[in-house]
């Protein structure tokens, strides 16, 4: 029963997992299915999108007094299924030397998987070997062929729609049927065909067909960001933790903010975890034979760095000194436009799935370009449900177009003519966002701030992060592409094209919420913290299963790879345990 605030006795668990997001949830699923007695520590509260007390799906904007506007509690809007955000009261983080990093955290069962975009892209063969290709960063200690079986199993277990296209670096998968494109997506596809920009059905972990008895099928409300009451989209809480609980092998402690990993000073092995009960503010500890970190890239690094002892003076599993370093988020840049041929559209329900039905995987060769890594493009548009911000800025748009009788209109205005403009432009807006690979650098890092603790008394992270020209030139290319697409569609861009003075419109680091790399894996214990099984070089009963182990990001979203690798690491734990090696 997930709602019971379980307080364990002095028992020793086989495994303690910290964090219930994609990595922690998958580990909980795999390990409990294998029969291990597992304890899951979650810093936030219980959450279940099928329970009316949490439900925001299918609510109307007028049910929110702010009509869905964002708040400090929900930066993605009042109905969004992420509790937390960039700025959590009592849980600060700092930055160094005038640099910038934004850190998004969700304090709830399932973590950030409750609201994510469900864009579920495998890394391709090249994404594991970037140093070999361009001499930058580090290769992974594993290749696509080693991960592919786990991608296949993740596809089957959780469900993802898409199409097999035979692309060299965007591998085929075990796909459910993809939904047909919406109108604006067909127009984008047509324009991109003329431009040579590959545009294919998107790959999202949303069930367009039944895969098991526990989960329903998508009913096309476009609201995966609110988490699905039918469990038709993947979130770790609904699809991994729930079945893990049903095995009877899993206990969950909520409101448990992990503080440090406890170790035996003689053996140097983990013995358990100390945490702060965020309700009583008491420090408590739990014992386990194996510790698995899935707290998120930065939170897991923070835990290791805060787990200092005589034996591990630089923090746990950090003899290499790499913990916290090589932090990198996806790059992001975006542009919106209005498409006059879509004025006065015929109305019909085109909600579709929560997100894009088509996307553009990276289609060019970086050897012929002035930046080393690629990006993909995500698209939006259509006759969506109005929310706070609807019609905002019409005074910059309505003067650009003649009225229905062909007479020139003046920008701004009021009254019946203005009211009609909103109707006329409804569904005529589109947008696109590039999501690219940044190069992981040693001097982009998080570390423990020597002067600051959070409200639980735990030392906080301090970030140092700068973009380089690799990312700036990539963003410039994104914007050139966006303009070509908008022009080809006969559209009008809605903002000025960003230039070098503002990093070509690059989002601030952290804003894309794909941060990875802080506890990287590798074959050389001097240059990495984890081996290729995500097991600490220094501490054999310590594993990391979130985005922290990634040596590089790929021009893909990281979640599907976190899931596949957590499955792989968890099965390795079971094998090692059965072989008496753990």
């Amino acid at each position: 029963m997930p709602d019971i605030h379980f307080r364990p006795s002095a028992k020793t668990y086989d495994v303690i997992i910290i964090g219930s997001g994609a990595g922690g949830g998958m580990a909980a699923y795999e390990l409990t299915k294998a029969g291990a007695k597992v304890l899951l520590l979650e810093a936030g509260q219980h959450y279940d999108p099928a329970d009316p007390k949490y439900m925001t799906q299918l609510k109307w904007p007028w049910q929110s007094p702010r009509r869905g506007a964002s708040t400090r509690y929900r930066p993605f809007g009042d109905f969004d299924a992420a509790y937390g955000g960039w700025d959590i009261e009592g849980e600060p983080y700092t930055t160094k030397n005038g640099t910038q990093f934004k850190w998004f955290r969700s304090r709830m069962l399932g973590g950030r998987t409750n609201h994510w975009g469900r864009i579920s892209l495998r890394f391709g063969p090249d994404d594991f070997k970037r140093r070999t290709i361009d001499g930058l960063g580090e290769d992974w200690p594993i290749g696509y062929d080693e991960v592919a079986p786990f991608y296949d199993d993740t596809d089957r277990l959780l469900g993802v729609f898409g199409t097999n296209e035979g692309l060299p670096n965007d591998p085929d998968g075990v796909f459910l049927p993809a939904p047909k494109p919406r109108l604006h997506e067909l127009m984008i596809k047509k324009a991109n065909k003329n431009l040579g920009v590959t545009t294919i059905p998107s790959r999202l972990s949303i069930l367009t067909k039944k895969i098991n008895d526990e989960r329903g099928v998508c009913f096309y409300c476009h609201q995966c960001g609110r988490a699905c009451m039918a469990y038709a989209d993947f979130s770790s809480s609904s699809c991994l933790v729930n079945p893990a609980l049903k095995t009877g092998n899993l206990d969950v402690i909520y409101f448990a903010m992990a503080r440090e990993i406890l170790t035996d000073p003689k053996t140097g092995l983990c013995t358990g975890v100390s945490y702060i009960d965020t309700e009583s503010l008491e420090e408590k500890s739990v014992r386990g034979n194996i510790v698995v970190l899935g707290a998120s890239a930065c939170e897991s690094a923070r835990l290791l760095l805060n787990s200092k002892s005589t034996r591990f003076p630089e923090g746990l599993a950090n003899s290499s000194g790499v913990v916290g370093k090589y932090l990198h988020d996806s790059t992001g840049a975006s542009r919106a436009a209005i498409i006059p041929t879509l004025f006065d559209r015929k109305r019909y329900n085109e909600d579709g799935v929560g997100g894009l039905h088509v996307y553009s995987p990276w289609w060019l060769d970086n050897k012929k370009l002035d930046f080393p890594r690629g990006y993909h493009i995500e698209y939006w548009g259509g006759m969506g449900m109005p929310s706070y911000g609807f019609g905002w800025g019409i005074e910059k748009v309505n003067g650009l177009f003649p009225d229905r009788s062909g007479n020139k209109r003046e920008a701004g205005g009021y009254g019946a003519a203005l009211k009609d403009d909103y109707r006329r432009f409804y569904g005529a807006y589109i947008g696109m966002a590039g999501r690219g690979e940044a190069v992981a650098r040693e001097d982009n890092y998080c570390e423990i701030d020597p002067n600051t603790v959070d409200k639980y008394g735990i030392p906080v992270l301090r970030f140092h992060y700068k973009w380089s020209d690799y990312e700036r030139l990539q963003a410039k290319h994104m914007h050139d592409t966006f303009e070509r697409i908008i022009q080809e569609m006969g559209g009008i861009p809605l903002s000025d094209k960003p230039g070098p003075d503002n990093d070509y419109g690059l989002n601030a680091p952290g804003e894309i919420i794909h941060e990875v790399g802080t506890i990287r894996m590798g074959n050389d214990p001097k240059k990495s913290a984890l081996n290729k099984w995500q097991q600490a070089h220094d501490v054999k009963n310590l594993f990391v299963v979130d985005g922290a182990p990634f040596p590089s990001q790929g021009d893909k979203n990281c979640t599907w790879t976190i899931l596949a690798l957590s499955m792989r690491a968890s099965r390795y734990i079971v094998e090692q345990k059965n072989a008496g090696k753990l």
Binding site: R66, A230, N349, G391, I394
Partner: protein
């Protein structure tokens, strides 16, 4: 239409479900939260404890005074009046929405309160009375000077900025209301089957052969 009835309209077997599906269970729950039945403006809609406490506090406060609320109402109805298709901004509850937003996003408070006073100052200089006491023709005379950003009339730039903010808030409030959404013709937010763009729409855009 009850959401459960809407769900009955699509075949559950096509959704891959039989019996009492999660969707139908959810629909029964949703019926309890039918907006037509709700009494309190702050009926919970999946709130966390912190959110409930904050919203309850905001609902107890009043930011704008009666005169300011009246001015907001007059302006909102100038911006979005009743027409053949739907009612006016005040009929859709826009002034209450703006009052709430001013409390929810305190950075709106000074531009709105100050803008309302700017407007009254204009009205007093021109007609020796507040904006709401002006005749319709007098009100429109002032609005004409601040509703068209590209005219850049001397001395009016702050009024133009205020009117643009009012326009944006009014439109946001109107088109997120039940009335505004019906006016717009948004027909989603309900369980359905997506099977692509309707054939006649594909033909209209020449995409039927693409």
């Amino acid at each position: 239409m009850k959401r459960r009835d809407a769900l009955k309209g699509i075949s559950l077997t096509t959704l891959g479900l039989a019996g009492l599906s999660p969707q139908v269970k959810a629909a029964e729950v949703l019926d309890l939260a039918d907006p037509d039945k709700k009494k309190e403006p702050w009926e919970p809609y999946g709130r966390t404890r912190g959110e409930l406490e904050r919203d309850a506090k905001l609902f107890k406060e009043q930011f704008f005074n009666k005169h300011e609320m009246k001015t907001i109402s007059v302006l909102a109805d100038i911006i979005i009046p009743k027409d053949a298709q739907s009612g006016s901004a005040t009929e859709a509850g826009v002034p209450d929405f703006i009052e709430f937003m001013a409390k929810d996003q305190p950075n709106l408070q000074t531009p709105l309160r100050g803008g309302l006073l700017w407007l009254d100052t204009q009205a007093k200089r021109r007609f020796e009375k507040t904006f709401t006491d002006c005749s319709d023709a007098q009100r429109i005379e002032i609005v004409e000077d601040i509703a068209w950003p590209e005219r850049k009339k001397t001395g009016m730039s702050q009024g133009i900025a205020f009117f643009s903010l009012m326009r944006n808030l009014t439109a946001s409030g109107f088109f997120t209301s039940k009335m505004g959404i019906a006016d717009l013709g948004y027909v989603g937010n309900t369980p359905n089957q997506w099977d692509g763009v309707p054939e006649e729409v594909l033909r209209q855009y020449g995409l039927d052969t693409f």
